[in-house]
């Protein structure tokens, strides 16, 4: 499906900019670039709802941890043992969903 709405959709940066993240300085996702370098399927790139995994021109994967929903999709879809080490952020940090 390639349907488009008749009004402008938000760009991804604006979309995720609507969510609050209290970022901790320590990354709670660690990616082993050596494992990713020879992965051709790159499930994390398409599935991560926060678009944290971005392919680079030299065949690697650039990743961020800052705007992470802490959902677990990346390690669940990853087919490479040891590529993604994932834990929860430090207490009180990370995503904070809004109250009404």
């Amino acid at each position: 499906m390639t349907r488009q709405s008749e009004w402008p959709e938000l760009g991804f940066e604006e979309l995720i900019g609507s969510t609050r993240f209290d970022v901790h300085e320590r990354a709670h996702i660690v990616v082993d670039g050596a494992v990713c370098a020879d992965c051709s399927t790159r499930e994390c790139v398409v599935a991560c709802p926060a678009k944290l995994f971005v392919p680079t021109s030299d065949g690697g994967i650039l990743f961020n941890y800052e705007q992470c929903f802490e959902c677990g999709t990346c390690y669940l879809v990853c087919n490479r043992e040891g590529a993604i080490a994932w834990s929860y952020p430090e207490g009180g940090h990370g995503v904070v969903f809004r109250r009404s």
């Binding site: 709405s5 709802p49 677990g72 999709t73 952020p89 904070v96 969903f97 809004r98 109250r99």
Partner: protein, 435 residues
């Protein structure tokens, strides 16, 4: 008995954890409720409907104080194709009055409220505290948790893991089997702001009445579903996507939401709204097939951590299963503490309660549903079949006479290349599952 800091530690102040802590605190046990977010509910999102009747016992008249958005009095099931929509729309005013049925609510509101009920009954709540591991004795029995606080070890006679779908506690305890992505879906949602009067008008409701629209066929080649729920002055619009299919189809989640929002049957409901929040969460979708062992020595698992979400197509529930399992875990722990036996055997009352109540009875009854609902035929072919038949029935093709229903079904079935045998088999599975 070894020295402990608390009789019980509950990991995660979601619906399961807060209910477990409430039961324990009321029984006079010392209980610590740990939450890694800055407040209970801050990490939690869902599509949007909670069924709180399980709280009748724990919090009578819960509806007078629970922070809900709207009472669902209209429930629509919608089948979409690219250009068609078939909706079965049910409305009852009974669900808009006590004791109500389902309600839309923001989880940060609802979960926060449930946690305040637990602390009011005497549970200690510690927020902004992440559990990083289990404490165990030489026999392997769980004796507490390690947190990310300085000197953060907390010893307890029982640990109740209500730490959500990723449950690192249950995994560390060895209670989960191998993790298979095929058992999970990803839920992604936009909260879209619109004035209350506009929502009332577009959805044909008044006051606190609300609408729940469940959609099949709206997620293109990615198996899953979509939803639209009404809050007071926001809409929850989102998709639920089967993880391996999502990865294989190279369609991003936010693109699939945009596609649902642009469907001719949905666009007039959502247009002009402003996105207030984008959110996502993983759902344990496979029900009974993916559940862990619920009990270990010194440990119980409840809620999403125990894969208790019910994702059965026309029934999409989870918070009620979490609350019920939390209550059962609390009761079984009280029993085990009284008997002085918190081994797996002493905690056996937990599974007995789950087996005797809707928690596992519904899951057993609907054990075939998740696979059927997310199967390729149900996802990609049957929406077209049903919509094609209905379009054929109501199209007046004069001078041609009206075709009979049987001929229409056969014509559409052949057009879509559906084998009669497969249709019959799915029909029987469907009847066995939902009948």
């Amino acid at each position: 008995m070894p020295e402990v800091d608390f009789d019980a530690v509950v990991v995660g102040a979601g619906p399961a954890g807060s209910c477990a802590a409430t039961v324990l605190a009321r029984a006079g046990q010392s209980v610590l409720l740990l939450e890694r977010g800055p407040f209970a509910g801050s990490k939690n999102m869902y599509g949007g409907v909670v069924y709180p009747r399980i709280l009748d016992g724990l919090h009578p008249q819960w509806w007078e104080e629970a922070p809900i958005q709207r009472w669902v009095t209209r429930r629509s099931t919608m089948v979409l194709t690219e250009t068609q929509a078939l909706t079965i729309d049910f409305r009852t005013q009974a669900w808009g009055q006590p004791p109500y049925n389902g309600a839309t609510a923001f989880r940060p509101d609802f979960d926060h409220w449930l946690a305040t009920k637990a602390t009011a009954d005497g549970a200690d709540l510690l927020t902004s505290t992440t559990v990083v591991g289990l404490l165990r004795d030489r026999t392997g029995a769980v004796t507490g948790v390690r947190t990310d606080r300085p000197d953060g070890d907390i010893r307890a006679r029982v640990v109740i893991a209500c730490d959500g779908v990723n449950s690192f506690c249950a995994k560390e305890a060895g209670l989960h089997g191998p993790v298979d992505a095929a058992n999970y879906t990803l839920g992604v949602k936009e909260s879209i702001g619109l004035p209350k009067e506009v929502i009332d008008e577009r959805f044909n409701v008044r006051g606190r009445e609300g609408v729940d629209i469940e959609i099949i066929g709206g997620t293109g080649a990615v198996n899953g579903g979509a939803f639209v729920y009404t809050n007071l002055d926001t809409l929850a619009v989102g998709v639920v996507l089967k993880l391996p299919k999502l990865a294989a189809q190279q369609r991003r989640p936010e693109e699939l939401i945009a596609s649902v929002k642009a469907h001719p049957a949905i666009a007039p409901l959502v247009e002009g709204g402003e996105v207030k929040e984008y959110s996502a969460h993983v759902i344990p979708e496979a029900g009974l097939a993916m559940m862990p062992e619920m009990t270990g020595d010194g440990m119980l698992v409840a809620g999403d951590a125990a894969s208790m979400c019910l994702a059965a197509g026309i029934w999409l529930e989870g918070v009620n299963f979490a609350m019920a399992s939390g209550i059962a875990a609390g009761e079984a722990t009280v029993e085990a503490l009284a008997a002085g036996d918190t081994t797996r055997r002493g905690l056996a009352g937990y599974e007995r309660r789950l087996n005797d109540t809707f928690v596992l009875r519904d899951h057993r009854k609907l054990r075939r549903a998740p696979e059927l609902v997310l199967s390729d035929r149900v996802q990609h072919l049957y929406p077209q079949l049903v919509a094609g038949v209905v379009e054929g029935m109501f199209r007046v093709d004069n001078p041609a006479p009206k075709p009979g229903l049987r001929r229409l079904v056969t014509r559409e079935r052949k057009r879509l290349g559906i084998k009669r045998r497969d249709l019959a088999r799915d029909g029987i599975t469907g009847w066995r599952t939902f009948g």
